[in-house]
Symmetry: C2
Amino acid sequence: MQIFNTIKLNKNSTQHLYIQLYNQIKNLITNGDITHHTKLPPIRKLSNLLAVNNVTVVNAYKLLQQEGYVYKKVGSGTFVEDLNTKDLQSKLINEDIRSFSEEMNEAEITKDYLNTRSINFASTAPTPDLFPVDDFKIVLNEVLDRDKGNAFVYQESEGYYPLRESIKTYIQNYGINTDIENIQIVSGAQQGIDILSKSLVEYGDIVFTESPTYPGAISAFKSRAARIIDIPIEEDGIDIKTLQNKLRSFRPKFIYLMPNFQNPTGYSYSEEKKQRLLELAEEYNTFIIEDDYLSDLSFSENVNSTLKSIDSSNRVIYIKSFSKIFMPGLRLAFMIIPKSIYNEVLSAKHTSDISTSGLIQRAFDLYLNKGKWQKHIHHMEDIYKKRFDILVESINKYMPNEISWYIPNGGLNFWLSLPEGYSANELYKLSRKKQVVFVPGSVFFTDQRDSTHFRVSIASVYSKEIPEGIKKLSTLIEVFLKEYKNKQTAMDMYTPYL
Amino acid sequence: MQIFNTIKLNKNSTQHLYIQLYNQIKNLITNGDITHHTKLPPIRKLSNLLAVNNVTVVNAYKLLQQEGYVYKKVGSGTFVEDLNTKDLQSKLINEDIRSFSEEMNEAEITKDYLNTRSINFASTAPTPDLFPVDDFKIVLNEVLDRDKGNAFVYQESEGYYPLRESIKTYIQNYGINTDIENIQIVSGAQQGIDILSKSLVEYGDIVFTESPTYPGAISAFKSRAARIIDIPIEEDGIDIKTLQNKLRSFRPKFIYLMPNFQNPTGYSYSEEKKQRLLELAEEYNTFIIEDDYLSDLSFSENVNSTLKSIDSSNRVIYIKSFSKIFMPGLRLAFMIIPKSIYNEVLSAKHTSDISTSGLIQRAFDLYLNKGKWQKHIHHMEDIYKKRFDILVESINKYMPNEISWYIPNGGLNFWLSLPEGYSANELYKLSRKKQVVFVPGSVFFTDQRDSTHFRVSIASVYSKEIPEGIKKLSTLIEVFLKEYKNKQTAMDMYTPYL
C-alpha cells in the first residue's frame, strides 16, 4: 500500500479525478514501482486513502483494465498485468473478434479474454507499436496549418478531391487504371461493404459469397435482408462449377470475393479462375465486389494481381482497406465504382454519414504525397514476413500430424483443420482456458455452423511469442484429440457439416 | 499574363505540381496581385509558359474553383472570385443542399451555385472561420503524445470509454441523467439516424415524422423501405390530434422529432405537448427519436428543455449533434439509447463502420475536459445572436406584407411563406439567378411536394451581408408576386398542396 501514498490528485484540475488516478497508477506500473501480478488495493481502501468517491477508483481500475494495465480475478481483486502482453487489449477490438463474440456469447468471451493474458492468434489487427504515429502527427499538423477551418467543413461525400487524385496515381502501382470520378472515399472497408449493400441490395435480393468468408460482410448483407448463397472456396479460388450452376438458377446482385489471401483461408485465386469469373459476371450480368484487404502483403514471387486490374468490362467494384497494413483507427478506405452505379453508391454514402472526416483525408493525402507510404509498407512487410516464417517453422515443428493446414503466399491468416468429426468450437473452449486464442471456423460461415476448421493469424502476436504459442496450442490439440475421441457424448453435441 | 511569370514549380517536390500551382495562384489572388473578375490565362497558354502538362493546369484550376477562388463561365474561361464570397464553397457541402440538389437536378444547381457569388441563406453549416482550430490542434497533439499508437487502434464500437463518461457529465447540464452504458458514440447525427433505422426498421415498417422535417432522416428511413407517415407540425409542436388518430391506426417503430427549433420551421414544443407525447409513446408502446441538433442555441428566456430530460419511462432515443455548434467535419455525435434496444443499435453501429475514429473521440474528450467547450458555445451564441437580430430587423424592414413568417426562440432557421397558390420552387429558380439562395420547402416534405414555404438560415451568411441579402430577396419577391399572378399558365404547372 505504501507506494499508493505517493499519489496526489488535484480536485481543481479540469482533468477527471479518475483519469488522474489512472495516469498515476499507470506510471507506477510502467516504471516498475508496482510489479506484475501485484494485487491493487481494494476499492474502498484506496478511496479512503485518497479521500475520493468509490466511483473514482472503480472508474480508474476499469480504465486500467481496458487499457491492459491490470486484470481482474472474480472474487479476489484487481492485479497488475504482465506488461509484455499489455497490447492484447487493443487487439480485442477488431471485426473478427466482435463477430466471433456475438456468436459464442460475447460477454463471457470478452471477460475471459480480458482477464487472462492469452497469446493472441485470433486478431487480424496490427499492434499499435507498428503504427507510424510520429510521421502521421507531422502531416496532421501540416494540414491544420495549411487548411485551418477548411479541414473541418463537411467534406464532399465523394471524398476530398486531391486525395482521390492521389489514389488514382497510387493504385496504378497495382495495375489499376481508373478515373478520379470512379473513386469513392469511405470510412473504412466495412462501411464500403455496408454502403454497397445499401445501394444495391433490396429486401430478399440474392448475393453470392465465398464460403467461408468475412463475417462483417455477412452482417452487412443480412442487415439488408439479403438471401446469401455461399459457394465453397478451393485453394485456387471459388468453385467455378458450383458458381456456374448457381448462376443458372439465381440472379445475384453481386458476388463478394477476396481474390488474394482470402479471409479466413489465405487462399489466392489462380489467373485462370480470375479470368473465368470476369467472363461469368459478364455473361450473367452481375457485379463482383473485390475486397482487397491485403493484396499488398505478398511473401512469394507469385503474381497477386487484383481482379480489378484485369477488369476490362467494368464488372468489378473494388474496395481497398488500409486497416491491416496501416492503422485501423484511421477509419479510411476507398472504392472504385463502375460509372453505372456511382450515383446510387454516392447517395448511400451520403445517407450513411454525409462524408468521411476531411481532416483524416487531408492528412492521409499528404502522407501519400510525401512518399512515406512506401517506406511504411516495406516496414510492415519485413515485420509480418518474419512472423510468417516463424509461424510456418513452428507449425511444422510442433503441430500434430492429424492437423492439416495450408501455407498461403502472403497475408496474415493460416487455415488449419482438425480431423473429420472434431469440433473447432470445442477446441476453442478448451484453449481459451489455457490462454491461447484463435478463431474457430464457425465465425466465417453464413449459418455459423461448427466445423473442423480454425484460423490462426500473425497480426497480433510478436515473433518471440509464436513458437511458445504454437507449441502450447499443439499440446492442447493432442490432448483434445485424445479426450474428444473418448467422449462420444460430446461428439453428439454438434452436427458436423463436411 | 506577366504576373504568372512569377510562378515557380518544383518538379522534384513531393507535392503534386498542380497543388503547387494551385497554392501559388491562390496566393496571387489572396494577396490582391490578381484582382477579382480577372480572367485567368487559357489552359494551353499557361501550361506552355510553365512547361507542364495541360492536365496540371486543368487540375489546379479545378481545385481553385472547388475552393472558391475562381469561377468558370462556360465558353469564356476562368475568372477570379470576389473573395468576400469565397467561403460559399464550403457552405455548399452540407446535408440540406445535397438533398435539395438531388431533388431539383443536382448538376445544374451545383454548377449555378459554384459559378455565381450568391448570398447564402440556404446552408445551415457554420463557416470555417468560426471553428476553434487552434484549440483543437492543441488537444490533438496532446492526445497523440499521450496515447501514441493507441489513438489509432479499433476503438470500441460503443465509443471511447472516457469520452462516454465525459458526455454523461456534460449532458447533466441539459437536465439529462443517463448511465454511461446507454451512451453510444456515432460518426455524426446522420449516422445516428441511419443506425437507428438499421436496427429498428424492417422492410415495410411504419415510422412517423413531423411534416416538414429534415430530409436526411427521410432518406435514411426510405433506405430501409419504411412507410413514412408525416404529421403536421404547429407552432407549439406536432399536431397531437392527428398524431393520436394515426397512432390508433398504425404501429410505428418510432416517431422522429426535433422538439427545439425544429428544422426547417424553427418551432419549439410547448411543455404540454412534450408531456403528452411521452404519454402517447407509453400508451402506444413506441419510441421517440429526439434529434437535438441545436437546443443549445436559445436566444430567449424560454425554457428549451429536451424531451429526454423529462423521459421517465425510457421512451426517448436521444441524438445530439455537434455539427452546427462546433465543427461539422469532426463527424462526431452521440446517442442515448434505452437499454432494451442498446444491443441491436450497437450491432448496427458495428456493421456500419466498426467504430468512430478513436483519435477524434480522444481529442474531443480532452477538449471537453479542458473546459474549452463552454467558452466556444458562448462565442457561437454571440455570433449567431447578432445575425439572428439583424435578420429579424431586416425582415421586418424589407419583406413585403404578403409574406408571413415566424420568429423562433433560437436556432438558425426562419420559416417564411408566400401567399396561398404561389410556388416556393418557382421563387427559388428566380432568386438563384439573382444570386440570393435559400431552401424551398419542397426539400423538407416526404413527397417533395412544392409548397408556399421556404427556409432562410443564418449559419452561412455574415452579419454585414444580411440586410443587403434580405433587401434583395424582398425586391425579388415583390417582382415574383406580381409576375406570377399574371402568369396563370405558370401557376398551372404545379399542384399546390395547402
